[in-house]
Amino acid sequence: MNENIIDIKNLTKKFGAFTAVNNISFSVKKGEIFGFLGANGAGKSTAIKMLCGLSRPTSGNGTVAGFDILCEYEQIKSRIGYMSQKFSLYDDLTPMENITLFGGIYGLKRKDIANKASTLLENLGIADKSKQLVQSLPLGEKQKLAFSISILHNPQIVFLDEPTGGVDPSSRRKFWEMIYETASKGITVFVTTHYMEEAEYCDRISIMADGEIKTLGSPQELKNNYMATSIDEVFRKIATKAIRN
């Protein structure tokens, strides 16, 4: 039995002459919170899209949840959750309607959806807003809703692409509480961020720059290796060598 839920080898993505992701290899263990760090434009989102079957790799291979990312990407999709960088639920639907839609697409029964939805809205504290359109919710609530919906179908892994962009630190902390709760249910969490302090919350992190993975390990290991007191410092030491940024 393979303990690795994600196994990636030499993954590369080129857009014309531009290499967004250059030959990355890594694995993620079942149940981990795996952080993907890097500045904007380092290639994090492109990498995550290849893992989720949203983008075709130029070369390289790998498996996610036991399926090949090159040809079995549709099977992967039913076993993962995805929350994109840009809020991408339907603005002109209510929270309830969004939950129903995505629950339905993942094959849940209407009765189960209704049950799950009511506890979910309760937990998020927006039960009273369930009939408002999503566009009227504050960004922090939208993000939590999007996260909840991405794990509605109990996926094996959830991919979060910059989930806390643009909100205040207290909302971010609450969001990370949700991530911990999710991980405690046995769902592997794969999260990208450019907030270095968030990296400390991860079990293991990798730091990307110029489309390449520069280093990978637990936060403590990295700090030791780079003789730094914080991940931020580690990152700065790597980033000074980066060309793009």
């Binding site: 995805y82 994109s84 359109l133």
Partner: protein, 368 residues
Amino acid sequence: MNTLSFLLEKEFKQFFRDPFMPKMVIVFPVIIMLVIPLVANLDFKDINICIVDNDHSGYSRLLSDKISHSSYFVLKHTPQNYKEAKQLMDEQEVDIIIEIPYGFEKELIRNEIPQIPIVANAVNASKGASGASYLTQIITETTGEFAQNNGIADSPAELLSVHNLYNPTENYRHFMIPALMVMLIIIVCGALPALNIVKEKETGTIEQINATPVSKIMFTFGKLIPFWIMGMFILTIAIFIAKIVYGLSPAGSVWIVYANAFLFTLTISSLGLIISNYSNTMQQAMFIMFFFIMIFILMSGLLTPIESMPEFAQMITRFVPPRYFIEVMRSVYLKGSGIADVYPSFVWLGCFTIVLTAIAILSYRKRS
């Protein structure tokens, strides 16, 4: 199938929540069906005419009389000479000039062959030609009558009778209305799908959908079915207005009309989705769809007859799906044609439906 019901639920909620679209889908067909049949008229009546009478004879009075009593012409002026008449034409006052030369009646009686010039403003070729041909008809009739009265000859025209089928009141509106229904469906069920997927691209929601295991077929049908229902709805409004306002109901089976609309709506909506799939912005999608809508309206025989087009253009019309729909609509509405009469159009349309729907499904790419 279960998934499809969720996707449809979403599409309908979004549609009814839009501030503009539901109104458009109702108001647009109603206005078009009420107004456009009154406009779409190539049956030229009330052509402005002036007569330059140099003969002042019994014949010229008879002819003036016939012309002014004809439903095709309005006798506007009787200028003294051709120069004045031409002046009137340049001022857009008159469309056609007839000049009766001096001594015309005498020549006629002497059984010589007198000449009678007609000058038509042919900027609008068909108007000019119609005017000239109506006038020719009136002159021939008048001359025949005049000849008979004066015992010169008798005409063989009585041997001939013309029998007009299918549109006994010769109402041009009845010819246009079934085609206008097609035009409504082209515009609404073509433009809206073209904008649909590309809108999801612009707002980013498509990415969330692409990350789910939803199948291409389900997704595409989730998009197609609402437009298909919309098409049927618009058609039904149009059929009712045609009946109530214009007293026109299909001479043949209304089910053929619906079956045909079923195929056509899928065809045109699929085309819209294909354009949407290949476009990056709504602006692009709209320009391309606009291009197709124009071709569909102008090259389908809707406004000008296909038989009048040059050979190469007629070839192009074979690949214009509404051409077949319009043929069937007019045949069923006016001639009462049955399946046996129109099945070739059905087969063509069916092929377009299958091909375009298949392309719509395949061109939707979940992975870039």
